[in-house]
C-alpha cells in the first residue's frame, strides 16, 4: 500500500487555477503528493464554471470542469489581499516542497513570495511559474490563453485543410498537454536532483515555448530549408491511404493510416481484394500519393457501407492501423477497451454526487497511484491546514475568519 503513493511525502502549495496548473498538480496528486490549493472567496470564477452538477443552488462545489481537474487535492481559503493572508501563505510554503502558480509575472514578487524570498524561508523549495511568454523578454507582459498560445505556436497553421482557414481544437489544447506535462516532468526531475544534492530551484514554463517545442519539424524545416510548412488535412507525406473516411450512420468516421507496403497488402486483404486495389498505379506509396484523391474516394466507397467499428475491426485484423473517430459518448459508454482498462472512474462527491473523473493515464506496476478522493469542497481542509499543519490556535483561526483572512 505504501508504494501505491510514491509522492506521499511531497507537499505542494498550489496557487494555480483554471486549466494548465491544476492539470499538472493533479498528476502529482494522483501519485500521492499532498496538493493544497490556495483558494479564496475573493478569487471567484472558476468554481462556478460550466458544466454544473445538480446540487445546492449557488454552491461553489458543483463545477464538473473544476472537480475533474482537482481530484485528490486539498482546499483552503486564504485571502491573499490581506497581509496576514500572505503571511500564512509564507508559512505554508515553508512546509512545502513545491510551490506552483500561474499568475501573471510579478504577482508572487509583489506579495514578497518571489523565489528569492522563498528560498530564505525554505532553501530546498522548488518553485514553478507558467507565464504565457515567460517572465523576461520584450513581450513578457503578454497575456493569453490556451487558444491564443495554440495559434502562436503554429498548431492552428498546421491544422485543417489547405483550402480553408486554419483551425484548432477549441479545447485550449496547450493547457491540458504541453504546459502541464512539461512542467510535471520538470518538477519531478528537480525533485530527483534535490534527492541527490539537497538543492531546490526555480522553474519557468513559458507557455509559448513549451508549446512551440511540440511542433515536429515545423521550426527545423524553416531554419534548415527555409520551408514554411502548412496544413495538409489528414494526409501525410509518408503514408497513403492516410485520412478520415465516412462510414454508415450520421457523422460517423473511421481513420485509416497505411504506412508501409506490408500494411497496404493487409489493407487489400481486409477489403476482400477488390479489383481496384490491384490497380498498378496504387502498387507503390508514390503512386498512391499521386492518385490520392481518387484513391480516397474508392476507400470511402468501402467504408461508407460499414459501421466505423466494423471497418476498424476488419482493418486491424489484417494489421492495418485504423480507428473509429470516437466522440465522448463512444469513449465513455461503448469503448470496450477503455472500460477494460478502467480509464474513467466514478467518485462520490458530497455535493455533486456520483460523477465521473478522468483516470490515470500511466499505469505504474509498483506504484500505480490512485484516484483516492473527489475534488475538495471550497475550504474543506481549512481545519487540517491551519490548525494541524500550521499549528494555529483555535482563537487565531476564529479571528482570521472574522477578519476575512481565512475567506
Amino acid at each position: 500500500m505504501q508504494g501505491n503513493l510514491p509522492l506521499r511525502d511531497i507537499r505542494v502549495a498550489d496557487f494555480t487555477w483554471i486549466g494548465a496548473g491544476p492539470t499538472c498538480t493533479r498528476f502529482l496528486a494522483f501519485f500521492g503528493a499532498e496538493v493544497i490549493i490556495i483558494e479564496s472567496h475573493t478569487r471567484g470564477g472558476i468554481r462556478m464554471g460550466q458544466p454544473q452538477a445538480k446540487g445546492p443552488t449557488g454552491s461553489p462545489n458543483l463545477s464538473g470542469f473544476f472537480n475533474n481537474l482537482n481530484s485528490c487535492k486539498e482546499s483552503i481559503t486564504l485571502n491573499m489581499r490581506t497581509p496576514q493572508g500572505v503571511d500564512v501563505a509564507r508559512r505554508l510554503i515553508g512546509l512545502s516542497d513545491i510551490v506552483v502558480n500561474n499568475f501573471s509575472p510579478g504577482v508572487m514578487d509583489r506579495w514578497g513570495l518571489g523565489y528569492d524570498e522563498l528560498v530564505k524561508v525554505n532553501p530546498g523549495v522548488i518553485m514553478a511559474e507558467m507565464p504565457v511568454a515567460g517572465r523576461w523578454g520584450p513581450h513578457k507582459r503578454m497575456i493569453g490563453y490556451g487558444a491564443t498560445v495554440e495559434a502562436f505556436s503554429g498548431i492552428n497553421e498546421m491544422t485543417g485543410y489547405p483550402d480553408r482557414p486554419p483551425t484548432g481544437t477549441e479545447i485550449n489544447y496547450p493547457d491540458y498537454a504541453s504546459n502541464p506535462y512539461h512542467l510535471a516532468t520538470a518538477l519531478l526531475s528537480a525533485l530527483h536532483y534535490r534527492n541527490q544534492t539537497g538543492c531546490g530551484q526555480y522553474i519557468e514554463v513559458a507557455q509559448l515555448e513549451s508549446t512551440a517545442s511540440v511542433m515536429e519539424t515545423y521550426v527545423l524545416d524553416y531554419t534548415v530549408n527555409k520551408r514554411v510548412q502548412t496544413r495538409t488535412g489528414n494526409h501525410a507525406a509518408y503514408a497513403s491511404p492516410h485520412s478520415v473516411y465516412r462510414c454508415q450512420g450520421e457523422d460517423r468516421w473511421v481513420a485509416i493510416a497505411v504506412t508501409s507496403e506490408e500494411e497496404w497488402c493487409g489493407f487489400q486483404r481486409a477489403l476482400g481484394e477488390p479489383e481496384w486495389t490491384k490497380d498498378p498505379r496504387y502498387a507503390t506509396l508514390q503512386g498512391r500519393k499521386e492518385h490520392e484523391e481518387e484513391l480516397d474516394r474508392l476507400v470511402e466507397g468501402w467504408t461508407s457501407a460499414r459501421s466505423p467499428q466494423e471497418a476498424m475491426r476488419l482493418l486491424q485484423a489484417q494489421g492495418v492501423p485504423a480507428g473509429m473517430v470516437q466522440n465522448m459518448e463512444d469513449a465513455m459508454e461503448r469503448d470496450p477497451h477503455l472500460a477494460a482498462r478502467g480509464f474513467y472512474a466514478r467518485l462520490e462527491h458530497p455535493e455533486a454526487g456520483l460523477t465521473r473523473y478522468d483516470g490515470l493515464v500511466a499505469k505504474l506496476s509498483a506504484t500505480p497511484g490512485r484516484l483516492r478522493a473527489p475534488a475538495p469542497l471550497l475550504g474543506e481542509h481549512n481545519d487540517y491546514v491551519f490548525r494541524e499543519l500550521l499549528g494555529m490556535s483555535e482563537d487565531d483561526v476564529n479571528q482570521y475568519i472574522l477578519k476575512q483572512v481565512i475567506y
Partner: protein, 406 residues
C-alpha cells in the same frame, strides 16, 4: 533577478543537469521519441538503439536540402538531437544478449513495440527486473499493454481518433481533421516522460524499478478540457466547431475575448472602428455575452484592416489576449523567442553548418536545458558503447558487425 540571468543564453560549461546520473536505452518510434528527447534535454545520457542500417524514422522527411538520406532526415534530427546512437539487431540471439548486458547497466528503457514483442525475446519486464532490479521500463503504445485493443496498431492519426480529440477538430461539412504536427505522439510522450519521473522518484526512495504502461489513446482522452465532464453531467457531446480564427490582412489571428474589454474598445475607437461598442451598456459582461455575435463582427472587421504584426504589437502593448496564427517563419523569427534564445544552435560539423533547433520547453535555474550534441549518425557510438561501456574487444565488435548483429 537571479533566475532571469541564469536562464538567459548559453550556460556555463560546468552547469549540472537534473538527470545527468541516468543512462536511458531508447527503443522508441514516433510515439516515444519526444519522451526520450525530453529526458535528453534534462541531461540524461540517451543511447538510441537502431537496427543495423538505421532506424525506419530516418526515412521520414523532410530532409536537409530535400535530399533523401538517412543522415539528413529533419524528423530524425528533431527528435534525436543530444542522443547517442548505436546499432543492434534484436532479431538475433546475440543481439538480445548484448541488449541484456546494456540493460544491466541502464536506468531506464523506453520502448514502443507491440505489447508482447519484448517478452517474446525474453526481455519482459519481470526478466529485465531480475537482471537489474533498479531498471525502469517505460512502454508507450497505441492502446497500452492490456485490454481487448492492446494488439491494435496505431499511428498519430489513430490515437487522435480513438482518444476523441479528432472529433473536436474541423468543419461540420467535412471529415474531422487531426490536430497538426503529431499531437497524438507528443501527448503520449509527455505523459510517459512525467510518469517515468514518478517511477524515478520512487526508485530514489526504494531502489526498485518498475514498468510504466502508457497508452496514446488514454493520453489523448485525458487532455480534453471539460469535454468529459460536459458529457457526464449534461449528456452533451462536443463536436467540431469550424475555425475560430479571424482573418487579417496577411493571415489569421486568434482572439479570446474576456480580458481587457476597455483596452480593446479604446484601440478600436482610436481608429474610428468601435461602432457602438464604446456605449456604457457593454460594460456588463452579461450584455457582452448576449451580443457576442455582434461584437465579433465589429472586432473582425477591425482586425481585417491590420496585419498580423500590427495586431501582435498592439495586443502585447495593450495586454489583450490576441495572438497571430504564426507561420513557421514568423515563429522562428519571433523577436521575443529570439531575445530569450529559445532557438539554440547545434553544430553539424560534417555539413559545415550549424542549425537552430527549438530549444528549452522548460527553464530550470540550477539544471539548465542541455542542447549540445547533434543527432547521431548510424552506429556512431558503437565503439564507445560496446567497447567502452561493455568492454568488448575491437575484434569482437568487428565480428558482430560482420554478422549483422551490430
Amino acid at each position: 533577478m537571479r533566475q532571469q540571468e541564469s536562464s538567459v543564453g548559453p550556460q556555463p560549461e560546468a552547469a549540472p543537469s537534473a538527470l545527468s546520473d541516468l543512462v536511458v536505452l531508447d527503443l522508441a518510434d514516433g510515439k516515444g521519441l519526444y519522451c526520450t528527447r525530453l529526458l535528453a534535454g534534462l541531461g540524461a545520457e540517451i543511447i538510441k538503439l537502431e537496427p543495423p542500417g538505421g532506424d525506419v524514422t530516418r526515412s521520414v522527411g523532410p530532409f536537409y536540402h530535400d535530399t533523401p538520406d538517412p543522415e539528413k532526415s529533419l524528423y530524425f534530427w528533431q527528435y534525436n538531437v543530444n542522443k547517442k546512437g548505436i546499432t543492434l539487431s534484436l532479431e538475433q540471439p546475440e543481439g538480445v544478449q548484448l541488449f541484456r548486458r546494456l540493460a544491466a547497466g541502464a536506468d531506464i528503457v523506453v520502448e514502443t513495440f507491440q505489447p508482447g514483442y519484448l517478452a517474446g525475446l525474453g526481455l519482459s519486464f519481470p526478466e529485465l527486473h531480475a537482471l537489474n532490479p533498479r531498471l525502469i521500463l517505460t512502454s508507450i503504445t497505441g492502446f497500452g499493454q492490456t485490454g481487448p485493443y492492446s494488439q491494435y496498431k496505431a499511428t498519430d492519426l489513430i490515437g487522435l481518433a480513438m482518444g476523441t480529440q479528432l472529433n473536436l477538430c474541423g468543419f461540420q461539412d467535412r471529415a474531422p481533421v487531426r490536430t497538426g504536427a503529431s499531437q497524438g505522439h507528443h501527448q503520449a510522450s509527455l505523459h510517459a516522460a512525467a510518469a517515468t519521473m514518478v517511477a524515478l522518484f520512487w526508485r530514489d526512495l526504494s531502489g526498485e524499478g518498475q514498468h510504466v504502461d502508457v497508452s496514446m489513446q488514454e493520453a489523448v482522452a485525458a487532455d480534453l478540457q471539460w469535454t468529459m465532464a460536459l458529457y457526464d453531467l449534461t449528456g452533451v457531446i462536443r463536436n467540431r466547431e469550424g475555425s475560430r480564427l479571424s482573418p487579417c490582412l496577411d493571415g489569421y489571428v486568434r482572439h479570446n475575448l474576456g480580458a481587457g474589454w476597455d483596452d480593446l474598445v479604446e484601440w478600436m475607437a482610436g481608429e474610428g472602428m468601435a461602432e457602438d461598442l464604446a456605449e456604457p451598456g457593454y460594460q456588463e459582461v452579461t450584455v457582452r455575452r448576449a451580443q457576442q455575435a455582434h461584437i465579433n463582427e465589429v472586432l473582425n472587421s477591425f482586425l481585417a484592416t491590420h496585419t498580423k504584426a500590427e495586431i501582435y504589437r498592439e495586443a502585447v502593448a495593450r495586454r489583450l489576449p490576441i495572438c497571430p496564427s504564426s507561420t513557421a517563419a514568423e515563429l522562428a523569427e519571433d523577436p521575443h523567442l529570439n531575445a530569450r534564445s529559445f532557438f539554440m544552435p547545434v553544430e553539424h560539423p560534417e555539413l559545415g553548418e550549424s542549425f537552430l533547433y527549438p530549444g528549452p520547453p522548460v527553464r530550470m535555474t540550477e539544471t539548465p536545458w542541455v542542447m549540445e550534441r547533434r543527432p547521431p549518425h548510424i552506429g556512431e557510438h558503437n565503439q564507445e558503447v560496446y567497447c567502452g561501456r561493455l568492454g568488448l574487444a575491437a575484434e569482437e565488435l568487428r565480428e558482430l558487425q560482420r554478422r549483422g548483429v551490430i
